[in-house]
Amino acid sequence: MKSFKFSTARFLMAITGLFYVITVQAQNMKPSEFSFSSTSTGICFIFIVAFILLAATFTLKNKVANLRKESKRKNAEEQAEILKEQTLRLNSVQIERLLRYRSKTKSSGMLPAFLLMVVFTLLTFGSVNAQTPQGPGNGSLLSESGVIITIVLVLIPILAGLVLLIVKIRNALNQQKNRLHQEEASKLAKYLQGLPDDEVDTILKKRKTALEYSLTHHELSGTEPAEDTKGMLSINQATGYPIVAIKKKALPRPNIDPSLSKLVLWYLVCATLWLLFGTTVGEYVGIKFVAPDADHLSWLSFGRLRPVHTNSVFWGWASLGMLGLGYYIVPRVSNTKLFSIKLGWYALYLINASVIIGSLCLMAGINNGGGEYREYIWPVMLLFGIGLALSLYNYIKTIAARTTREIYISNWYMVSAIIFTIVISLAAYIPTWQNGLGETIIQGYYMHQGVGMWFMLFTLGIVYYFLPQQLNKPIYSYSLGILAFWTQILFYTLIGSHHFVFSSIPWWLQTVAIVGSMGMAIPVIAGTTNFLMTFKGAWYKVSDSYTLPFFLVGIIFYFTGSLQGTAEAFRFTNLVWHFTDFTVAHSHLTMYGIISFFLWACIYAVVPRLTGKEAPHITVGTHFWLALIGLMFYSIPLMYGGTMKGLLWMSGKPFMDGVVEMAPYWLWRAIGGSLMWLSHLIFAYNMYKMIAEKEVPDVSETAIQQLERNMGSASASIA
């Protein structure tokens, strides 16, 4: 029997947030092993070590200085040589000043050269008098937060003292350096004073003319006016509003089969429409937490709309978006044509049909039972499955006809994702092993593989193509990509049942899932490292690109969101977070923060290449910021509120207290959700601008067309 582990609780609280530590932990006060006396011993120890270091530095410094003096005395002849060289190293202004000085001294006799010395004297500092301030030492022993505050207060002066110590050591070293400079300078001054006149005339004046030589800037170009005879310059005069930074234009890519281009665009357009539909539903469902009586229609009730939202963004938006991008990437990295455009269209029809029929069924109350993300009944999901199988066949046939020897890593990820998803769907819909808890075990497996093996794996494949392309440099490490690939398969497959920790499924299965969740750190860290290192040396490109920020956000959430998933799988965190809104926040951080941001990045990268038209940079930026800020407003309150709710449950408070407590966080969620939804409207507008927008009539183009027409009619009249 495990007892309530307070130390683990404290660790968790530290993660959730500092303000939370202060408020909640104050209520759970416990005597602590911390004592102020041991802390002050520590401070004394640090001071002693610091002073010993300081003393050692000074001794060392003096010794070095003595040694230098010794060596200088010995080489008096070499010294003269060095001084001569130093004279020649003077710049023209210094030579000028030196000459002026010499001519003056010739008339006036003698003046001590102490100009440089004055400068150096100014630079020298006073003596060292380090006095470290003492920290306030009145922390309550019994109060947990009091001890924390005390530690912080004690740490501040220690840190300040250490900083001061470093500053002083630097000063002492500088002082020493300055003294050496002074000595050298006075020697040089004496030497310059003693030079004979003829030497000055010949050497210094010659040196001066040499130093002052400069080009006329017409050596190569001549004096003719500039002319671009080869048409190499194109100056963009329409710079738009000066409100936002001007980003680089997407590069046109002319050699794409127009029929493939049309197919890819239709996938992306359908995906966009499903995004709009799915998130409109999601937004409405979120509002229902705040206004449960918004409507009383059975088709729009919460329990029916929730799966409509999840399934349409899963199978409609993300899946179609991914497959569409896949149809672009697979032939490109295989350096061949797509096996069959027609099959691509069939897959698109089938998947769209599946989501349309599925959504209607769910609203009408026809669903598959209780399992999340397998709410579509089997005939509906079968349409989706056939769509996947057709795409798989199409991809593999294309890869089989590739003209490259290797199979690019993107194809590893994308093709495997489709194969795995077909396997997952079969496992989830074949009824042979679904009775009793069999259903639950399969459900855990299915819902998690759906996320990790379909969306995550496929999206990673897309990123492995588009990120290097947008950065215009190869992926940092192909091997890391391969490592991430195999470890993802190994660990991810195991972790499904972490959605049912503490339920009545076998305990060993839960443990395997938790261990596998920890193993997920390997592919996540490998992937993140790979992407970030690809950015290395090209960070400057982020500021003038409108796709790279989307990639960057995706990468950050890939790291944080995935590791958050690992943290959530532990048994203790399950106590606090399971069944609460924390899970909802997590799934949005990942499905939205990772998948959607990556998809947008890739869509903004590929569509201009297909159509030759770009979305206005200002609306792309608006989309980005609304989506990001909206996601934060959405998820942070839910995570905080979810944690508080879990703690309420754990402390045995009435269930309704949790509902009341969540009310403000649900409101924040609705606000964040609205921002996200607004960003999707803007995204849809951007899609319209990239695809359907009529080209702006070009005045010069029209003028020439008119002339041509005139010419045509003239020749016709002649004939």
Binding site: G370, E439, I505, F579
Partner: protein, 335 residues
């Protein structure tokens, strides 16, 4: 590597690995669980009515907010007397040709767990009102209303089940709300959800992560538990936070002679522990105290809260007093 430059070998290897792991961690455990568990001897299969009710429960996606699993952790104790075991679900099989098995365990607890709702809230009246609009009985609830499971009638016939809806929630004054067959089936299903006793001699699995510290603290100070919290968790759904109940459904505690008086203490404790159905104008009350396993401390705390709230002026009771009454009651029920 040569191996990975061959698409058949590469994707074959990945598929082999994935399918192998899938069989190990999903298919085999699922089949073993399915074959090695049987329903508990006391478990009753769903009646035709209840099965139809379950279909309504599924169609409306109730599982999105309501779990049906008591985890083996202390915080889940409020939802059942023992953690759920695999045998509890063993009787659930494929719904029909179109739809999969529905254990309805759920992954989200926006609303309360329903594993034992048949025991915790057996009142049909409460359930009907709550289903028509949850906010009639639970002010802060965010659960959807299900008016389409009810019909509005001007005049009622003999077999109609009339729902006691306050005037404020009626579509038009003078309307009568009548439960449809679907609503009654759904409630039949909810009432069927009861934790089944394990066969004699089988020790139930324990609850983990016990709140030992709090209990120790409570014992040390010998203080009564928080009566208001107990009232909110166990009584408020019917008797309301105002103590006024719901006219025609749940009697008021405010000003009640049983609550305030001293001569009826035994009846008062009896009602809390064993339920009450003596007044035809109100619905039957479930044995709330017995279901929740109240001790004399908890009963005393609730009584003291009720006797001192909403203008009530009852004298405070002590746990010792209550213990005596509870012992007497136990002997009576034993006879």
């Amino acid at each position: 590597m040569e191996f990975f430059d061959n698409h058949k070998k590469l994707f074959g290897a990945a598929t082999f690995m994935f399918v192998g792991l899938t069989i190990l961690v999903a298919i085999i455990p699922a089949i073993r669980n399915q074959n090695n568990n049987r329903p508990l001897p006391d478990a009753k299969p769903l009646s035709a009515e209840e099965t139809k009710g379950k279909a309504i429960f599924m169609a409306n996606g109730c599982v999105a907010c309501h779990t049906q699993q008591v985890r083996n952790v202390d915080m889940d104790k409020v939802w059942g007397s023992r953690p759920s075991v695999a045998a509890d679900y063993a009787g659930v099989t494929r719904t029909d040709f179109w739809r999969n098995t529905a254990t309805l365990m759920g992954t989200e607890r926006t609303g309360p767990d329903l594993t034992n709702i048949g025991t915790r809230q057996p009142s049909k009246d409460w359930n009907l009102v709550h289903l028509f609009n949850p906010r009639i009985v639970v002010k802060e609830s965010v659960m959807p209303a299900y008016p389409w499971l009810f019909t509005v009638k001007k005049s009622i016939s003999k077999n109609d089940v009339v729902v006691n809806v306050p005037a404020k929630y009626l579509p038009a004054p003078g309307d009568t709300i009548v439960a449809t067959r679907e609503a009654l089936n759904l409630i039949a299903y909810l009432q069927s959800l009861k934790q089944v006793k394990l066969p004699d001699g089988t020790p139930p699995p324990g609850f983990l992560y016990k709140r030992e510290e709090q209990k120790a603290a409570a014992n040390a100070t010998n203080a009564l538990p928080n009566g208001q919290e107990l009232f909110v968790a166990n009584c408020q759904a019917c008797h309301q936070s105002s103590g006024e109940g719901l006219p025609g459904a749940f009697p008021p505690l405010k000003g009640s002679p049983i609550v305030n008086g001293n001569e009826n203490l035994e009846l008062y404790v009896d009602i809390i522990m064993n339920g009450y159905d003596a007044r035809p104008e109100y619905g039957a009350m479930a044995p709330v105290g017995t279901n929740a396993g109240f001790t004399e401390n908890e009963v005393a705390a609730i009584m003291n809260y009720e006797r001192t709230s909403w203008g009530n002026t009852g004298k405070e009771v002590t746990p010792e007093e209550i213990k005596k009454i509870m012992d007497v009651l136990k002997q009576k029920t034993a006879k």
